[in-house]
């Protein structure tokens, strides 16, 4: 079980690190993606576009390295839940936008559809699994903890 949890942790961590890279390199484009969802007030889009990718890369890196795994898994699960709601809302209201998940809005041409909903739901389940099942195996913090107790 611990190997499965470890694999799931690496998967979610790697996915978040990968997804954050294009957002960090082109925050203006990511801000456009955020505005397209028409959920947040447009004025907030830049602030979210600057902060969110770093939370993604931070939480993802922590999951990979096994630092603060529970809080990091809680963050990834929370973010995925928010993304799922946003995609579902865009799909339900017929917004013709791309999801902006793994590539910039300008680079991708596919509009949000049922595929994105299913994909995000599955990733959310894996992240939830990590949050609930992780017992701190294969954690850097466990290796160096004086108490020898995983985080």
């Amino acid at each position: 079980m611990k190997y499965l949890t470890f694999a799931a942790r690496l998967f979610i961590g790697g996915l978040f690190v990968y997804a954050s890279i294009h957002k960090i390199t082109d925050p203006a484009q990511f801000a456009v993606s955020i505005r397209n969802y028409m959920i947040l007030p447009p004025e907030w889009s830049h602030l979210v576009a600057l902060a969110l990718p770093w939370v993604e890369i931070g939480a993802g890196a922590f999951l990979i390295l096994g630092i603060q795994t529970k809080p990091s898994a809680l963050l990834t699960t929370g973010m995925l839940a928010v993304f799922l709601v946003a995609i579902a809302r865009a799909y339900a209201t017929g917004l013709d936008i791309d999801c902006g998940c793994f590539s910039s809005a300008a680079a991708s041409h596919g509009r949000v559809d049922i595929y994105h909903l299913v994909r995000d739901s599955l990733i959310l389940l894996v992240s939830l699994f990590v949050l609930l099942a992780d017992r701190g195996d294969f954690c850097i913090s466990g290796l160096f903890s004086l108490r020898g107790r995983p985080v």
């Binding site: 801000a31 602030l47 969110l52 939370v55 809080p71 791309d98 809005a105 041409h109």
Partner: protein
């Protein structure tokens, strides 16, 4: 319960930490953006509100069949290169040219007008011309064709070949010395169009 609260608290700390990192690093980034987004103001011409959009937002409209891009630059510049699928309606030849391309511009379509950039008013002048014709769904792409081209978005090279002989007098489009009224027939040039703000 206490453990759950502890996890949530640490998650909040991680959220704040990395958010601060991202927002702070923006100050030193080559791709820095303002912390607060200020939407471009809408234009209002003849009582019709015309949103100003950037090239990224315009790119999202390119594949929409109900959207027509309208190049308001000179016919010469249009002939060199333009937004993929765009129709030519040069500011200084718009009356003659409009007759030719009117069938391609349904009144219910959303027209994305563009010219040379934010400093250029050709798109606004063409909008002023189109509104009395019944067009209400107009948008102006502020960065114009230079912004579009710089972003690497799809372009057509030599798009007006199909209109060939229907092009207005080429001398009017290839430059020259006239600088008449903007609505006058076959007047203007690339330079005068760009510069007569």
């Amino acid at each position: 319960m206490k453990a759950c609260f502890g996890v949530a608290l640490r998650a909040m700390a991680i959220l704040l930490l990395w958010s601060s990192v991202g927002i702070s690093l923006n100050l030193f980034s080559a791709n820095a953006i303002p912390w607060v987004y200020v939407p471009p103001p809408d234009l209002e011409i003849s009582g019709v509100k015309i949103p100003l959009i950037d090239e990224k937002e315009a790119r999202k409209l390119l594949d929409d069949p109900s959207v027509v891009f309208v190049d308001t630059r000179t016919a010469k510049d249009y002939a060199k290169s333009t937004v993929k699928g765009a129709q030519s309606l040069p500011r200084k030849e718009m009356e003659e040219r409009f007759i030719l391309i009117q069938p391609l511009l349904p009144e219910e379509a959303r027209l994305v007008l563009f010219c040379y950039g934010p400093q250029c008013e050709d798109a606004e002048r063409v909008a002023e011309f189109l509104i009395p014709m019944g067009y209400r769904n107009l948008v102006i792409m502020s960065p114009g064709f230079p912004g579009w081209e710089k972003a690497g978005y799809p372009v057509d090279s030599g798009p007006d070949k199909e209109l060939g002989g229907k092009q207005p007098d080429p001398t009017s489009a290839t430059g020259g010395d006239n600088s008449g009224p903007t609505s006058g027939p076959s007047t203007g040039s690339a330079q005068s169009t760009r510069g007569d703000k």
